[in-house]
């Protein structure tokens, strides 16, 4: 059975999945690189989507540039979500910023990698106000702290909840039944 699954994995991988870093990079990435080469870490182009891993310290600068630069105009933050790669991974957390342009209709994903003991990243609420609730959700479920956020409280879980439910080491059913009393 394992063989079967592997064979199928190889079959389905076929067309688009292999990251082609060496081939022609997306114009979005070249624009970023021209502006500041330090901004672009790893570039992953797969499934027709472009992901740029960016250094945490420059995140807000990059976002401001992407929002205002002519030809890029990423004025719409579609989504912001975090993910836990697992407690044994280092860096453990990633935060994904899905940018969209309402005029150019193109998309770009920025990714910031964070260590567990220093899971802090600068807020982007100053650039797109919609980031407010997304960041609160990411804080609530994963425990990533967004520095400078105007109102970083839990949003989905109760205020007195212990732990962060979407972390991989948090059990599916919780540690004990939650009681409101």
């Amino acid at each position: 059975m394992a063989e079967n699954n592997q064979a199928q994995g190889a079959e389905t991988q076929g067309l688009s999945t292999t990251p082609n870093n060496s081939a022609t990079p997306s114009p979005l990435v070249t624009a970023l690189q021209q502006q500041n080469a330090e901004w672009v870490g790893e570039v992953i182009e797969a499934f027709g989507e472009v992901t740029v891993v960016v250094p945490r310290a420059q995140l807000t600068a990059i976002c401001s540039y992407l929002k205002s630069a002519p030809g890029l105009e990423f004025n719409f933050l579609s989504d912001l979500c975090g993910a836990d790669r697992g407690p044994e991974e280092e860096p453990r957390f990633e935060v994904n910023y899905h940018l969209f342009s309402t005029t150019k209709h193109h998309r770009l994903r920025l990714k910031v990698l964070l260590n567990e003991e220093d899971a802090h990243v600068e807020t982007v609420t100053g650039i797109w106000r919609t980031a407010n609730w997304h960041e609160r959700e990411t804080y609530d479920l994963l425990g990533v702290i967004f520095d400078g956020h105007p109102d970083l409280r839990r949003i989905l879980l109760p205020d007195d909840w212990q732990g962060h439910a979407l972390r991989k080491d948090f059990p599916l059913r919780g540690y004990e039944p939650y009681s409101l009393t």
Partner: protein, 403 residues
């Protein structure tokens, strides 16, 4: 007098303070579920509004990580329960993107057809409850009459009224049944008259106009900044519809308009949705014409369940069926974000696979979640009675907000 009180009583001494805090919901009928708003009022004017959500949180995103890809579809039904087929579509398309599956033409047409029917059904609930909140009760019954017809169609195709799970990874659960097209045509023939009725009941109604025009203003820049999408964004005059901007499932082949309104208020959002009813109806008619015989499942035996008959006659079909059900299928490593234009706006699915049969992370970008976050922007400075109208115009579903 204050000094004699026990220390646990905290007395706030503000004699001339006219502001009061009002907790609206979570049981308030116009909050469409279990939304709580903390309103700071000055007289009847809203000074500050703070939405409080999470009452319906059920940890769905956590649950996805413990379910196989095909099992996740049924969870999506329960998010935006007024638009379950839209949720199905976003989820299965994200998985199909990872798998690199080609979907047959007939399945794509049926997907468009069902999604547009579902969009009309979703707008019917919005219209009925929005009018009910503002005080027009009759519309509600007319809307639910039309919605019932659509739910019957969805039930005929999928077996479920509210939780169809009709779209599967690689195609559809099964083909539409015999007689479906006839019943669907009957619906499309009758529907324009129903839209006329709604316009007669509401659009020309002076009270309704007074309650909605100039209320809940949000400018185009603010709307983009707050991430509004769908009819709320188009009500602010921003021409963005993902069916046009990033076409999926063959939407580029259909002829339809994108309704735009410039007045940025509750009335604009109302008019956008009303005009969308007609556009969706147009797409349904075109999809019915496009419907050609053909397969409804992709040719990927290791991902798509085999036909029942094949399982009884072909050994490999039986093996594939067993493997898919017992072990699931492996999805290539990677991450995708797929966004569709659901009835309420941009519904995005972020899916990350680590190569196994269960996703590593699934995140839903719910349009209701983001649209609701802009509520303070629209309500502050308005009258308290208008808050109800503004919530109605956002068309939120708490199942999707809280997940």
């Amino acid at each position: 007098m204050v000094a004699n009180l026990p220390p646990q009583f905290e007395v706030v001494d503000r004699p001339l303070d006219t502001q009061m805090t009002l907790s609206m919901g979570p049981q308030h009928p116009s909050t469409h579920g279990v939304l709580r708003l903390e309103l700071v009022l000055d007289g009847e004017m809203v000074v500050k509004a703070t939405p409080d959500i999470g009452y319906l949180h059920t940890g769905m995103e956590k649950l996805f990580e413990y379910k196989k890809y095909q099992q996740g579809i049924v969870i999506t039904d329960r998010m935006d329960y007024l638009n379950p087929l839209g949720n199905n579509l976003a989820y299965v398309m994200a998985a199909e993107k990872l798998l690199g599956l080609e979907i047959p033409e007939r399945a794509q047409v049926i997907r468009v057809l069902m999604c547009e029917l579902q969009r009309i059904a979703s707008h019917m609930v919005w219209l009925g409850t929005h009018a009910l909140d503002i005080g027009a009760m009759t519309v509600f019954f007319y809307c639910f009459r039309e919605r019932e017809k659509i739910l019957n169609l969805i039930e005929a195709a999928s077996g479920g009224r509210l939780t169809p799970s009709y779209f599967r990874i690689g195609g559809l659960m099964m083909d539409i049944p015999a007689g479906f097209e006839r019943r669907c045509k009957q619906f499309t023939n009758d529907f324009p008259a129903a839209v006329k009725e709604f316009h007669t009941l509401l659009s020309g109604n002076k009270i309704f106009q007074k309650r909605t025009q100039g209320v809940g203003y949000i400018s185009a820049e603010d709307a983009i900044d707050w991430g509004l999408s769908g009819p709320c964004l188009r009500g602010s005059g921003v021409n963005l519809d993902l069916r046009r901007a990033n076409p999926y499932t063959g939407y580029e082949k259909y002829d339809f308009d994108i309704p735009l309104e410039e007045s940025c208020d509750v009335w604009a959002r109302y008019m956008v949705r009303m005009r969308e009813l007609t556009e969706s109806h147009k797409i349904v008619v075109q999809a019915l014409q496009r419907l050609q015989p053909g397969p409804v499942k992709a040719d990927a035996p290791k991902v798509v369940l085999p036909e029942r008959e094949a399982m009884k006659t072909h050994m490999d079909a039986l093996i594939h069926h067993f493997l898919i059900v017992a072990e699931g299928f492996n999805v290539p490593e990677g991450e995708v974000y797929h966004a569709i234009e659901a009835s309420k706006g941009e519904l995005g699915v972020y899916m990350k696979s680590n190569g196994g049969p269960k996703p590593d992370r699934v995140h839903f970008r719910g349009p209701s979640f983001v649209n609701l976050s802009a509520l303070p922007q629209m309500t502050e400075g308005e009258m308290i009675a208008d808050v109800v109208a503004i919530i109605g115009s956002l068309d939120i579903v708490l199942g999707e907000i809280d997940r």
